[in-house]
């Protein structure tokens, strides 16, 4: 893994210290990351899920996008997924719900994978 990806993983472990963080290096210097048991909100059943994403080898110049969560997650009100969410999508040999949240103002000197994950969690909870 590149030093930047390793640092991002350390920051994720620190920011989400109560959650298991699974890391699977990929061949170019990036890594597949899965953070387990994240609270995504009562509007979903179950209200927790893992969230996964690829940290590309050109991180932090590259955005952390898209993200994925467990395909078992449903909206509690029975509605279909709205804009930004789609399923089923196969990611890393899993069926998932894809979370498409590009950062239009991604700044590699400020934004990190940990802050992106926190923002995506906040967005999921706001729906």
């Amino acid at each position: 893994m590149t030093p930047e990806v390793e640092q991002a993983i350390a920051e994720i472990r620190q920011a989400f210290s109560e959650h298991t963080v699974e890391v699977q290096p990929e061949s170019q210097g990036g890594a597949y990351i899965i953070v387990h048991s994240l609270p995504i909100g009562e509007q979903y059943t179950p209200s927790t899920s893992w969230i996964g994403f690829l940290l590309g080898f050109q991180y932090p110049h590259a955005d952390v996008y898209p993200l994925f969560m467990d395909s078992a997650v449903r909206r509690t009100d029975g509605q279909a997924w709205g804009t930004g969410l789609s399923s089923p999508v196969c990611w890393n040999n899993r069926n998932t719900v894809q979370i498409s949240r590009r950062a239009n103002r991604w700044n590699p000197t400020v934004d990190t994978a940990a802050t992106k994950l926190a923002k995506v969690l906040a967005w999921l909870r706001s729906l």
Binding site: T2, S27, D63, V89, W91, W106, T109
Partner: protein, 481 residues
């Protein structure tokens, strides 16, 4: 330390230093330059990142041994900064005179007194000193393994010029083949071209034109990088390619197995480019690299280039190019032509070509500041083909776009003329190398004003920026597989 030793500095930084050293009072002034470093078989390059001007009477005062000296406080502060930032330390002052300069015995004695300690403070440096006359510079660089003279200084702007300790000998007469060139920019211009190492990334339509023109111009050394082979559909655009290169006799067969065989044995684009360049200039030194500039080992072929042309269509390669330009202070240009097609109606949109010079300083055309390295596109390009297909909302499809050689010419022509004018010193002093876009269907050419992001990780001097850090910073490359 590899020789020759060259100091590279961008023109805004040089102007700042020069105005301080030569304000018109004919007195002596001082400064410190923090520099990065790169060592390759071609020599050592010191890369000026920051200039700290010593205020007269405060930081630069009457000396105990010589006429004036930097104060111990100023030296300690700036050498500490260099150590913390992993940069090298160069002290600067000026003498009178015009075209020749050297250190005085007092200067050399002060190096003996101070530099062994500074080498310790900066963890091996190198450290050193420069002395300027109005049109000359000399230097002495100290390393743990010895002292070395500075051979030259290169100033990078719309005019790329060099300063030496003393006037250089007259160049040899150029090869009679270049008589018409020499009438334009002199034997010295032809000699400059023959001494250049130029990188071309992407040897398709645009890159193959640049390759041929550089060889005709008499550029001495080309490094061509591309991993692609010639395909049948490249033939009308890749200069010098022939039916054998594309294995037309196989790929035009109906049998898919023979087609596949033909594609497998068609010639690499860089090998076609090498043949074309050698035909134009048999004495050219040519490195044909079958590879991807995104890979570190391939990108490193360019860290000591004098100029880089980027003629690819990936965002990943733009990031590497922009990083090389700023990290190693190598001017360059990105070219391209785009024919947008409406996927539903098939209508041709607003065809445009671009020529984007990038000089290694804020406001020099940095591709990051101009938002030409979209972070989401970098991420998409890092995915495998199967991942891209699975994440099907991504607007990334392998549909070939329309392309013709004359559009490539439009962007390549401006890029190579810029290159020539910069090295031959023929641009008027007020020329600013802005990005240029031509909207072909409107017959309209526009210039793009320079954009600057204060915290740019490439062209700024922020603590996270790679500018002029050379080999003491990592390129954002793919790890070797």
């Amino acid at each position: 330390m590899k020789k020759p030793i060259e100091l590279r500095i961008d023109s805004p930084l040089f102007e700042k230093l020069y105005r301080h050293l030569f304000p018109g009072d004919r007195d002596e002034h001082g400064a410190i330059i923090a520099v990065g470093i790169v060592e390759t078989p071609r020599g050592t390059r010191l890369l000026a990142r920051e200039v700290f001007l010593a205020q007269d009477g405060i930081d630069y005062v009457p000396g105990t041994y010589g006429y004036r000296a930097l104060t111990a406080r100023f030296v300690a502060e700036k050498s500490g900064y260099c150590a913390a930032e992993n940069l090298c330390y160069l002290a600067v002052h000026c003498h009178g005179g015009e075209d020749e300069v050297g250190f005085s015995t007092d200067d050399l004695a002060s190096h003996e007194r101070g530099y062994p300690a500074l080498l310790d403070i900066t963890r091996g440096g190198p450290v050193g000193a420069l002395v300027f006359a109005r049109n000359a510079v000399a230097g002495e660089i100290w390393t743990p393994s010895g002292r070395f003279p500075l051979d030259r200084m290169t100033i990078i702007g719309s005019h790329i010029r060099r300063l030496y300790p003393s006037p250089q000998p007259r160049p040899r007469s150029a090869d009679p083949m270049y008589d018409r060139h020499a009438r334009l920019f002199g034997d010295i211009g032809q000699e400059i071209l023959s001494g250049l190492k130029v990188g071309i990334v992407g040897l398709g339509g645009g890159g193959s034109l640049i390759n041929q023109w550089l060889a005709y111009l008499g550029v001495g050394h080309i490094v061509a990088i591309d991993f692609d082979r010639i395909e049948l559909t490249n033939r009308p655009r890749v200069v010098g390619s022939n039916s054998w290169d594309a294995m037309e006799w196989l790929v035009k067969r109906r049998n898919p197995w023979l087609q596949k065989l033909g594609k497998r044995f068609s010639r690499y684009k860089v090998h076609v480019a090498r043949r074309v360049a050698k035909q134009a200039n048999s004495s050219i030194r040519y490195a044909a690299i079958v590879g991807n500039v995104v890979d570190e080992a391939t990108a490193r072929h360019l860290v000591d280039a004098d100029y880089i042309f980027l003629a690819t269509d990936t965002i990943q390669s733009r990031l590497i190019f922009n990083s090389l330009v700023h990290q190693y202070l190598i001017p360059g240009v990105q070219i391209g032509a785009k024919v947008p097609v409406d996927r539903t109606t098939g209508q041709i949109g607003n065809i445009f070509t671009v020529t984007r010079p990038v000089l290694p300083f804020a406001g020099g055309g940095c591709l990051h500041c101009h938002e030409l390295i979209p972070p989401d596109r970098l991420q998409e390009e890092a995915l495998s083909e199967s991942e891209r297909k699975a994440q099907r909302y991504i607007e990334y499809e392998d549909i070939a776009e329309p392309s013709v050689i004359t559009l490539n010419v439009k962007s390549a022509e401006q890029a190579v003329n810029d290159f020539l004018m910069m090295f031959a010193g023929m641009y008027q002093p007020n020329v600013v190398l802005q990005h240029q876009m031509s909207f072909v269907r409107e017959r309209l050419t526009t210039k793009v004003d320079a954009l600057i992001k204060e915290d740019c990780p490439h062209c700024s001097n922020g603590s996270h920026s790679r500018r002029a850090r050379g080999d003491r910073y990592r390129l954002p490359c793919r790890r070797s597989r």
